[in-house]
């Protein structure tokens, strides 16, 4: 064949394929179930692709972004309800997260001003305080600088307050309070350093709550003439539930909605020794996070390290379920196809060996074996997929084999043989096309089993906890042990969406498989 003829031949083939696909599509479109399944899958595919845009949080260990030398705090409190609970009668006052400042690193003076930070002191003549564009914990970023120079007489104690007003718009108290600060004190004279004490105040309508116990943070470690990075001290305070903060519980401090003031108080004790006194306090990475009882579109789970946003998990779980379902289906169908072809067409000893092996896997109890194998191999997502493939090909290989057995005896295969066609040629040209209807159907129908199995494994504690899956959501729920003690109205947003998502995705594939079966299996074709 010349090149031109080849091209023409290929073109003809392609146009034939397109025509056949068009015909198939015409039929598929008529199947309402198949179209429903296809639409569901498309929606899931869009969700999977758009996951990072749909949710800004990390799906596995969501922490507050930014630089916190004492560790970034979790993004949310454990077992939060969805934020839209505030629209439910009786839950209007549910609290959400309140972040004190957007620029806790003091990276720009404009932020410092616009966020309403202010400085005041008990003896303005000896204090010069304000924003400083340099000297922060990061070399190039800013901080708050408070400089004390002794005036004519030693005042014994000077108080400087760095304050910021903030709104706490909820009548329910926060779940917990988290405060972070970095500070360093620079001593510019050679005298023994005077102690400086830092404390935090939260003020509500004139009532002040010292949330850092007095004398608990007296700073005596002071750097020399100029500080460097290692001189910084970092502190974090946390209250939650039974642990109070400075003797106060969240519900005492934030007993009502309103405007509050957050203060960092620096007390400088000058004993009057020496001729002069000159020291500088630097404050950086100052943040307070009030954890609400509501977070995200679907609340959070109960992981104590970093409670995950359930909506984020749900969105990212789509990817994992697709991956597990499709990979398992593709490879188990491929293996089943190969085994069935070889066993059916070649026959003889290879048939015996392959089919006995399939029998062997079929007689073992499925789920227990799956669990044991995953336990032996370790529960990474790839091992799980591998084991699911290993245990998923037998049924399909049997149906391929019986199909091939009957095809082998058909006249057209016999004629091909008589015409001198090789085994490979006959399989490729005459057997495979006839088996392919089975392949499509089986591809669609093996996905759901894999998805549900993965979820079941996760539920049993054998899922890959480093992967954000729907199974993980259900596993965390199982671990929280609340199903038998708490009414479902308190946690339905945790367990219902994941289960429904699994069921929907599984069903979508089954629906498609079902529709394909109706179209491709001529015996099932309805007479119209």
């Amino acid at each position: 064949m010349g090149e031109k003829e080849m091209a023409a031949h290929r073109e003809k083939q392609v146009s034939f394929l397109i025509k056949r696909f068009k015909g198939f599509w015409q039929q598929f479109r008529r199947s309402r179930r198949g179209m429903l399944g296809l639409i569901i899958i498309l929606v899931f595919a869009v969700i999977a692709a758009m996951a990072p845009f749909l949710s800004p949080y990390d799906p596995l260990a969501p922490k507050l972004p930014g630089y916190y030398p004492r560790g970034n705090p979790p993004q949310a409190s454990i077992v939060c309800v969805p934020t839209w609970y505030k629209y439910i009668p009786g839950r209007e006052s549910v609290s959400e997260n309140v972040l004190l400042t957007q620029d806790h690193e003091f990276s720009a003076e404009s932020n410092f001003d616009s966020e309403g930070w202010r400085l005041s002191s008990s003896q303005p003549s000896s204090i010069s305080a304000g924003y400083s564009a340099t000297g922060g914990t990061h070399d190039s970023d800013g901080c708050v600088k408070i400089r004390y120079t002794r005036a004519e007489s030693a005042p014994e104690k000077v108080e400087v307050a760095l304050s910021k007003d903030f709104e706490f718009p909820f009548n329910d108290p926060p779940a917990s309070i988290w405060i972070h600060v970095s500070y360093v004190v620079e001593n510019s004279t050679t005298l023994p350093e005077p102690p400086v004490r830092l404390s935090f105040n939260i003020i509500r309508e004139g009532e002040s709550f010292k949330v850092m116990k007095e004398n608990s943070r007296i700073i005596t470690k002071v750097s020399g003439l100029s500080h460097n990075a290692s001189d910084w001290l970092h502190d974090k305070l946390k209250s939650s539930g039974i642990y109070s903060i400075g003797g106060y519980h969240e519900k005492e401090i934030f007993s009502q909605a309103g405007t509050y003031t957050f203060q960092v108080i620096a007390e400088i004790f000058d004993d009057g020794e020496g001729e002069a006194r000159d020291l500088t306090i630097y404050i950086d990475n100052l943040q307070m996070l009030l954890y609400g009882h509501a977070f995200g579109h679907l609340g959070t789970d109960s992981d104590d390290n970093a409670p995950r946003d359930l909506f984020t998990l749900l969105v990212y779980g789509t990817r994992i379920s697709f991956m597990v379902g499709l990979l398992t289906a593709i490879f188990s169908v491929l293996i089943g196809l190969m085994v069935g072809l070889v066993a059916g067409y070649v026959g003889g000893a290879s048939d015996e060996v392959l089919m006995r092996f399939a029998d062997f896997l079929l007689v073992l109890p499925g789920l227990p074996l799956l669990i044991v194998l995953v336990m032996v191999l370790g529960s990474s997502i790839w091992n799980i997929i591998g084991v699911l493939i290993f245990m998923g090909w037998m049924g399909f290989s049997r149906s391929v084999r019986s199909m091939v057995l009957s095809l082998r005896e058909r006249p057209f295969v016999e004629s091909a043989k008589a015409a001198g066609g090789s085994t490979l040629y006959i399989i490729k040209q005459h057997v495979l096309p006839n088996v392919f209807a089975l392949v499509y159907v089986s591809l669609a129908t093996s996905v759901p089993g894999a998805i549900v199995s993965e979820a079941s494994l996760a539920w049993l504690g054998l899922g890959d906890i480093n992967v954000p899956s729907w199974g993980l959501m259900l596993f965390e729920f199982e671990r929280a042990q609340i199903a038998t003690s708490v009414p479902i109205s308190e946690y339905w947003f945790w367990v219902l969406p994941a289960g429904i998502a699994i069921a929907l995705m599984a069903m979508a594939f089954i629906l498609i498989g079902f529709a394909l079966d109706e179209i491709l299996n001529p015996r099932l074709r309805q007479r119209r």
Binding site: R33, R356, D359, F360, L362, V363, L364, P365, L367, P368, L369, I371, V372, L373, M375, V376, P448, V452, A455, S456, W459, L460, G461, L474, A483, T484, S485, V486, P487, I488, V495, G499, I502, A503, A506, M507, I510, L511, F514, R523, L524, Q526
Partner: protein, 331 residues
């Protein structure tokens, strides 16, 4: 080849198969991380003297080399002597005998119900193909088929046990029985109590199993209902019921028989997930506990007996084929 030689050949195959299954089980069980002994040692920590360790090894049978243990293991399976559980130190037979009746009751009720209703409705769905009933049945079956069973169980517990308080959330005997004198004296009272505790898991299992039977029956019946002999039967003027039962269902029943056989085979394994969700003390829960505690004797017994039953059930189904379909020749 006649029936006798076919049976002989099959029995040889079955023996080889069961031997391979047993060997495979031995290998994976011994590959499982953390045997009971290792866990025990880890708990006690470094205080364990070497003598004590040796004693424990002897106690659990880990002192012998692997090949000796293997021979012992195969020997035990043949003689049906499964040893004692690592965990409870009771004999495996006893453990299984306490769990098996519970499972047989639960699985029996729900499997039989699902089978009968599923097959009946499957036939109806196939017969009235394309009708609203068919569409509804298929959709319901497909959806129950694709929901994780533990999730259905949770919902059952959440709604009927926690929210409505109609049932107890778990166990196979009512809590009131645990009180001295709380056990019912009459058999009727005992049965009612057990049925009461079985309701939720049985419904869960039924929901899970029902869809499969409907779909399988429907598919099998659809395969045969388009056959020419069905048209012939109708043309002969046979009653529709006769056509359906004698001509369609009988011919459609071969895959169903295999499925029934497999169900019976896997019956004793219990429904692991359902039993775990409802803490129902049957074979499934026993398997679950044994796997997670690496209780090898119990696992070995359950895997072995399940495989054995499934193989025998399969064989029985194949023999039944010949009775139902005279066209089938063995060989």
């Amino acid at each position: 080849m006649g029936l006798k030689s076919y049976i002989a050949k099959r029995i040889v195959y079955m023996l080889i198969l069961i031997y391979l299954v047993a060997t495979f089980n031995f290998i994976i069980f011994n590959m499982m991380p953390g045997t009971t002994l290792q866990k025990y040692v880890a708990n006690v920590g470094s205080k364990m003297t070497p003598e004590r360790l040796e004693e424990l090894k002897r106690h659990f049978g880990f002192d012998k080399p692997l090949h000796e243990r293997y021979i012992l293991y195969i020997n035990n399976l043949i003689t049906w002597n499964f040893g004692t559980s690592f965990e409870s130190t009771q004999s495996v037979q006893k453990e299984i005998m306490t769990a098996l009746p519970n499972t047989l009751m639960l699985m029996g009720i729900s499997e039989i119900m699902a089978m009968i209703m599923g097959i009946l409705l499957g036939v109806v769905a196939a017969y009235r193909r394309g009708s609203k009933l068919d569409t509804g049945l298929v959709t319901v079956s497909l959806s129950t088929y694709s929901i994780p069973i533990f999730w259905i169980g949770w919902l059952m517990i959440a709604i009927f046990a926690v929210q409505l308080g109609w049932f107890e959330a778990g166990g196979f005997e009512p809590q009131s029985w645990a009180v001295p004198g709380g056990r019912p004296i009459t058999i009727l009272g005992w049965m009612l109590g057990r049925l009461y505790m079985m309701t939720l898991p049985a419904i869960t299992l039924f929901i899970f199993l029902f869809g499969g039977w409907v779909l399988l029956t429907r598919a099998c019946v659809l395969e045969t209902i388009t056959e020419d002999y069905v048209t012939t039967a109708r043309a002969k003027g046979l009653r529709e019921r006769t056509v359906l039962l004698k001509h369609v269902l009988k011919n459609a029943s071969l895959p169903l028989i295999t499925s029934v056989a497999l169900t019976i085979g896997f019956l004793i394994g219990g429904a692991m997930i359902t039993e775990t969700v409802f803490s129902y003390g049957g074979m499934g829960l026993l398997t679950y506990a044994a796997i997670f505690r690496t209780d090898i004797p119990i696992m070995a017994a359950i895997f072995y007996v399940t495989a054995l039953l499934v193989i025998v059930a399969n064989f029985a189904a194949d023999l039944l084929y010949g009775v139902i379909d005279p066209r089938i020749k063995y060989g």
